[in-house]
């Protein structure tokens, strides 16, 4: 073993300098803890030991910020300060609400590679969403592809393995305008990142034969250096395979791809800021065909009960996978047995490599021969690389030379708990601009279009914003039908062009039971208040499920937090508010969190004229939601179905334009961000779900980005039908009604609202079902392709379906 006894005599500063120099991403306190442990051992750590600890203790693997004790201070509008102490942010919010809800159908939460919920008596669903932000910023195709590949393996490694049946993808990019052609500070242009990420997800998902059924794409200047790439996978597994075990004496078996230098330091690199001078070795390139072969044979081995423990080889490679599996037992690994892509790798590189498409199994010795024969028959590598022991030590050797020998207890529980301070100050309320104010630069284009009402141009402008506009160019690249389960697809309507709210899958042809997947994301609201951003996206994810007719009593959600440097108290303050909102809303909605992940340090650092600069993303939360559908034949799509049907708006519209798409179009940062009263909205959702289950609703679409105006336009273009409506009939808050501004009514993004189409025959039943709820009939679907709206002041505004569709379809400039 190569020992570095000098390590034991280093000062705190020198230890931290060593951590920076080696790219370990460990703090001075953590280095001191390592020094103290090895002082007790009477020797310094080997390179491999230091690297193993760095991977295991990385933010990526240990979620140190969310596990930290946090002293949180908030200052309200009046300058009054409130303090709150979190012993463990995750346990005090996300995990707490799940524990309090005690849903018996949550079978495995926060302990495995994916959250597992019951589907029926025989089967369960495993769901996981991961981020792959840093790798995608550097090499978009490889980063996004391996992000999806990694989350597929998470589901394969949940319990004894679930069969992946659907993928989801959510991206946040910088703008694709002309500036997007230029290289960002991070290196690649936004367009390169956009095309690469979409291609990477497409090639990995399609080649593995897994449909990509749900997602979202968000464009904002904040993401030009640090794009966000969220990939999710839903898997189906027999209920009896959700438990796994590792017993002393089990063989450690590595399957799938071979090991190269790919992704060395991936976990620690993902736990730090992006900067210039990154090495190519951190980049991973996936091979979906290898993973497809491995998946098929792995599931066959599961059904033959040939192994009893499994995990994926992801961040940290073998060091994390074997370290996690052997946490309670101990493990002894012989690295010389690991199959390599090429010669020349040093032992620590083999141990830490994040080469893709690998899983690690715990195999009872008596099954090893049969397992290897099975894998060999499908031409998939399957190598016995060691044994799980009973001494609670991690021991790794290469040709008899021991390179790691340390206590599992220290490796997993030795990381010092962080004590952090966070701060949040409520920004001053700025009113939304008046109708006549116009901070936008004057352009020829705008002068030319003077003949139209500003409001008519606003709707077209909002529909053309890339975040709202059609994502058909992306969606069509994904196979969303393979496996033949997709009932409600990402694009719906007469020509399959409208944006569906949620995807619905029928898992077995013999049963009408199904499952629905949806998501919510809106980082722009974070600029106002991360609390209301989180409440809004959780509500949006739930709303999307409600809109298609999913069961409200079986909604489970996943959280994916992304943010900048949590050592900055203001950034941490935003994360704390997000987590608190998750607790507050999920408690009322009864939606347990079953899994999650955080990705921090999404900031880019550079040096200009000798001054260090940094730019970080806004605090971002993606909520992914899954639920059951009692009868897939009763699900509802969002496109208008028939002329003569009534149009209802459910929920109250309030003066909430802060962070709205209309605010972006008007180039203003004023207004109040949408808030949420979950007690009120939940009652409405229950009644709407009941109406949908009774077949009383012809179409339903949630109101989110672009508000009522965008929702109505999308329903119209998807159904190729026009409408007439009078916004004065909508249920409005008192201040909004007094102000009587049509633009605010049409484009407010108040939460908890739907646009619903009801046939004249179903009207009575529908109103009876929604009795006592905030429901207003505002108009009617009409033959002909004209959208006509009477405003608050009595003026009539009109658009043709074709011009609305043109704006919406051409919003994303997909040129290379």
């Amino acid at each position: 073993m190569q020992k570095s006894d000098e390590f034991l005599s280093l000062s705190k500063d020198s230890l931290y300098a060593l951590s920076r120099e080696r790219g370990l991403s460990l703090s001075a306190e953590e280095m001191l803890a390592i020094q103290s442990y090895f002082a007790e051992q009477g020797r310094g750590p080997s390179d491999a030991e230091l690297e193993t600890i760095a991977q295991t203790w990385s933010e990526h693997c240990k979620h140190k910020t969310f596990r930290a004790a946090i002293e949180h201070t908030e200052r309200d509008e009046l300058g009054l300060e409130r303090k709150r102490h979190y012993k463990d942010l995750l346990k005090d919010t996300i995990v707490k609400v799940t524990q309090e809800l005690q849903k018996p159908w949550c079978l495995s939460v926060f302990k495995d590679n994916a959250g597992i919920v019951s589907y029926d008596n025989k089967e369960a669903l495993a769901f996981k969403v991961e981020t792959h932000n840093h790798p995608s910023a550097l090499e978009p195709y490889g980063g996004a592809g391996t992000g999806l590949g990694g989350v597929i393996r998470d589901v394969l490694g949940a319990g004894l393995g679930a069969r992946p049946i659907a993928n989801t993808d959510v991206f946040c990019f910088g703008p694709l305008d002309e500036a997007g052609r230029n290289k960002s500070m991070g290196g690649l242009s936004t367009r390169r990142i956009f095309h690469g990420v979409v291609s990477g997800v497409r090639d990995y998902g399609n080649r593995m034969g897994i449909p990509t059924v749900n997602g979202a794409v968000y464009f904002d200047d904040d993401f030009k250096d640090n794009p966000l790439v969220f990939c999710g996978t839903l898997g189906l597994m027999p209920v009896h395979t959700i438990e796994k075990a590792v017993c002393p004496g089990d063989r450690i078996v590595m399957t799938g791809g071979r090991v190269g230098r790919d992704g060395i330091h991936g976990a620690t690199f993902s736990s730090d800021s992006l900067t210039t001078g990154i090495e190519s070795s951190v980049v991973q390139i996936g091979n979906p065909i290898v993973q497809k072969k491995m998946m098929d044979v792995l599931l066959a081995a599961r059904d033959k009960k040939l192994y009893r423990g499994i995990t994926d080889c992801g961040a940290g490679g073998l060091s994390s996978a074997v370290g996690e599996m052997g946490e309670k037992t101990g493990a002894d690994v012989s690295l010389e047995k690991v199959p390599l892509k090429y010669k020349g790798l040093s032992p620590w590189e083999i141990w830490l490599s994040e080469s893709q498409e690998r899983m690690v199994l715990a195999v009872p010795p008596g099954n090893l021969e049969e397992l290897q024969a099975l894998f060999s028959s499908e031409d998939v590598d399957c190598t016995d690389i060691g044994i799980f022991t009973d001494n609670q030590r991690l021991r790794v050797s290469y040709d008899q030379e021991v390179i790691v020998d340390m206590c599992m207890g220290f490796l997993h529980d030795g990381v010092p708990k962080q004590h952090l301070k966070s701060f949040w100050s409520c920004p001053p309320e700025v009113p939304f601009i008046s109708e006549t104010q116009d901070p936008r630069p004057k352009t020829q284009d705008r002068k030319r279009k003077k003949s139209r009402y500003e409001l008519e141009r606003a709707l077209l402008g909002i529909l053309a914003q890339p975040t709202v506009a059609s994502k058909e160019w992306i969606i069509r690249q994904y196979d969303h039908e393979v496996q033949g389960r997709t009932v409600l697809k990402p694009l719906v309507g007469t020509q399959s062009q409208g944006p569906g709210d949620a995807a619905v899958l029928q898992l077995h042809p013999s049963s009408l039971q199904g499952t629905a997947l949806a998501c919510g994301v809106n980082p722009h609201f974070s600029r106002w208040d991360p609390y209301w951003m989180a409440a809004s996206v959780l509500d949006e994810a739930v709303r999307n499920l409600v809109a298609v007719g999913a069961r409200l009593d079986r909604i489970a959600v996943l959280d994916n937090f992304c943010g900048g440097d949590p050592q900055d108290p203001r950034i941490l303050g935003g994360l704390v508010r997000c987590a608190q909102a998750c607790y507050d809303v999920a408690s009322v909605y009864g939606t347990p969190f079953i899994s999650g992940k955080d990705s921090l340090y999404n900031q880019f650092e550079w040096e200009a004229n000798g001054i260090k600069e940094k730019r970080s993303i806004p605090t971002t939360l993606l909520i992914s939601a899954v639920s059951q559908v009692g009868d897939v034949s009763k699900v509802v799509s969002m496109d208008f179905k028939r002329a003569g049907n009534w149009i209802y708006v459910l929920g109250e519209t309030r003066d909430e334009l802060g962070g709205s798409r209309y605010g972006i179009w008007r180039n203003t940062a004023g207004g109040s961000v949408p808030r949420l009263n979950p007690q009120d909205t939940w009652g409405l959702y229950e009644k709407l779900a009941e109406a949908i289950s009774q077949g009383l609703v012809s179409a339903c679409h949630d109101c989110s980005e672009g508000g009522l105006g965008a929702a109505l336009a999308e329903m119209s273009l998807a159904g190729e039908l026009g409408f007439y409506l009078d916004v004065r009939k909508a249920l409005l808050s008192a201040d909004l009604r007094n102000e009587a501004r049509t633009d605010k009514v049409l484009f407010s993004e108040s939460n908890g609202r739907f646009v619903v189409e009801v046939s004249p025959r179903a009207k009575r039943g529908f109103l009876s079902c929604l009795k006592g709820m905030p429901v207003s009939c505002i108009g009617q679907v009409r033959e002909g392709k004209r959208l006509q709206i009477t405003g608050m002041e009595g003026k009539t505004y009109a658009w043709s379906v074709s011009e609305v569709e043109k704006a919406w379809r051409n919003g994303i400039d997909v040129r290379n």
């Binding site: 290289k183 690649l188 190519s280 991973q284 065909i289 040129r815 290379n816």
Partner: protein, 158 residues
């Protein structure tokens, strides 16, 4: 022996990527080029004769209906096609150590084609710029639009 194989569209088959790149070149504000030709490039290594490499190219790397190919030894650094056509060829290759699934597949297929002496492969792309552009313009364009310098390297052959 190390050979390089360049695969391109036959005459009469549209090179849409090349056409799109020509627009991109124009949008970048660079002096006009006549056109840009694109194709795939492979580096194959092993105890192989040129005839072996031609077998591999004709049966595996190129579609005989729509594509043709050009084989040369690596050290020759020849440009595909006519040497007097006032063009510059940019070759973009993955850096060593970066995973190359395409090359892995080529290696497996070569063994299936009964070429057991086939050792290694590397995949890449080539872009041929017609109209006598300056090498530094081609280099800048490639680095901005056609490659990721973190994982790929560029060779310009005149």
């Amino acid at each position: 022996m190390i050979y390089r194989v360049f695969v391109r569209h036959k005459k009469g088959f549209a090179d849409h990527r090349g056409a799109a790149l020509k627009n991109e070149w124009k949008a970048a504000g660079l002096p006009a080029v006549k056109h840009i030709q694109t194709g795939h490039a492979y580096e194959v290594c092993g105890d192989l004769s040129e005839a072996d490499v031609r077998t591999l190219s004709g049966q595996l790397l190129a579609d005989p209906v729509t594509q043709d190919y050009f084989v040369c030894e690596k050290d020759q650094k020849k440009s595909i096609g006519n040497d007097r056509d006032h063009s510059l060829q940019a070759q973009v290759w993955l850096k060593s150590g970066v995973s190359d699934p395409v090359a892995d597949t080529v290696r497996l297929a070569a063994h299936d084609l009964d070429l057991p002496e086939f050792d290694q492969a590397r995949s890449g792309s080539f872009f041929k710029f017609f109209g006598a552009p300056a090498p530094k313009e081609v280099k800048a364009f490639c680095e901005n639009y056609l490659m990721n310098t973190l994982i790929q390297k560029l060779e310009i052959v005149g």
